[in-house]
């Protein structure tokens, strides 16, 4: 009994599916599937061809770019000396020109001595010039030539920014003083009046 019911139900389902299929197929047959598929296939193969042509165009272009890159690298390696080594030489030269800590200390010692002699009433700029003048006098008296430029003879200890600035200021003042005394260059005329007063 149960089996019979099931068979009936199944045949009902099958009928429904058949109906559904028939109606769908009617609609489907109204459109020419073969024709549609042919055009799709043609489009697809055309797309494949264009893809192929794109590849055939791109491949030589990529090859040329690659060759140019390789050529460029070879030229750079052959004709241009090693940039790192060049840089190293420059830095070495710069370092040789730098004053050593030893020379800084010597200058400091001298200025301290002169400060005690002259007193602390003079202003910073005037005081510095006086210090330098004293130094020159001392050198003349001792008969020694002007100190040769210091060279790096040992490892440079770490200097604070303030120390470095002080050293640079002193160097600048000495340089200006020598310009002022021994060479009448442009800088003198441009020198502020305040400074000429000190000289007077």
């Amino acid at each position: 009994m149960r089996n019979k019911e099931q068979v009936e139900e199944l045949s009902e389902i099958q009928d429904l599916i058949r109906q559904e299929k028939e109606e769908a197929l009617q609609e489907y047959r109204s459109k020419d599937f073969r024709l549609k598929l042919q055009s799709t296939v043609r489009q697809d193969s055309h797309a494949q061809k264009t893809r192929f042509f794109r590849l055939t165009r791109l491949a030589p272009a990529a090859l040329v770019i690659l060759l140019m890159l390789i050529g460029g690298v070879v030229i750079v390696k052959r004709f241009v000396s090693h940039p790192a080594a060049k840089g190293q030489n420059i830095f070495e030269a710069l370092l040789k020109g730098l004053p050593t800590t030893k020379s800084f200390r010597e200058t400091e010692d001298i200025t301290k001595k002169q400060e005690t002699q002259i007193g602390s009433s003079s202003s910073l700029l005037g005081g510095e010039i006086v210090k330098v003048l004293g130094e020159v006098q001392r050198e003349k008296a001792s008969g020694a030539a002007v100190l040769p430029p210091p060279f790096v003879d040992k490892e440079i200890p770490h200097l604070t920014l303030k120390q470095m600035m002080e050293a640079l200021l002193k160097e600048k003042i000495i340089h200006r003083f020598f310009n002022l005394t021994f060479d009448k260059n442009k800088e003198v005329s441009a020198w502020p009046e305040r400074f000429s007063l000190f000289l007077a």
Binding site: E9, K21, A24, L25, Y28, F33, T40
Partner: protein, 175 residues
């Protein structure tokens, strides 16, 4: 480039496979339950077949191979459109309008119920049900398409039918 350029008998095999396009269409309809989707899926299936005709080693198995492509394409489509595929009963009724002549509301209801019952089937049961009732494949062919045993196909088909019938019964009782 034609199928013949790639495979010695490619064009012939493809022509032979083209004769199954209606069967493939109804299988796609069984999976998608939408006429437009079924048409597009059928096109996709044949395009894939055309592109991969080289992989057909044995022409006697080309039909099963085509149905396997159809099954995989439909499953992929189902995965992609899972959310879109999850339609409410009202929407299902609306989407069934294309196949229903006016005034045939009873038949439309029945189809809607069937559609709903099939949508509730687990994937493995559904594919066997569709291949059997829509594609009209034999048990052996279904087993070949799904790469499984005939016994498994039979038991799955039986369970699928039971579930569909139970659903339809429930829906009718609710009315």
């Amino acid at each position: 480039m034609t199928a013949n350029d790639r495979h010695p008998g490619g064009q012939n095999i493809f022509e032979e496979l083209m004769s199954f396009h209606e069967q493939i269409f109804v299988v796609c309809l069984g999976f998608s339950k939408n006429l437009q989707d079924a048409e597009e899926l059928t096109q996709d299936v044949f395009l894939k077949a055309y592109e991969n005709i080289d992989s057909v080693k044995d022409p006697s198995l080309a039909r099963q191979w085509l149905f396997r492509i159809a099954r995989n394409t439909c499953l992929d489509h189902g995965k992609r459109n899972r959310q879109a595929r999850f339609v409410s009963l009202t929407e299902a009724g609306e989407s069934a309008e294309w196949r229903s002549p006016e005034g045939e509301s009873i038949q439309r209801d029945e189809l809607r119920i069937l559609k709903e019952a099939m949508e509730h089937l687990p994937g493995k049961l559904r594919e066997v049900f569709v291949l059997r009732h829509y594609g009209e494949l034999s048990y052996a062919e279904i087993a070949s398409v799904l790469k499984t045993k005939i016994g498994t196909v039979m038991s799955r088909l039986n369970r699928a039918r039971q579930r569909v019938m139970a659903r339809i019964r429930e829906a009718r009782d609710e009315k």
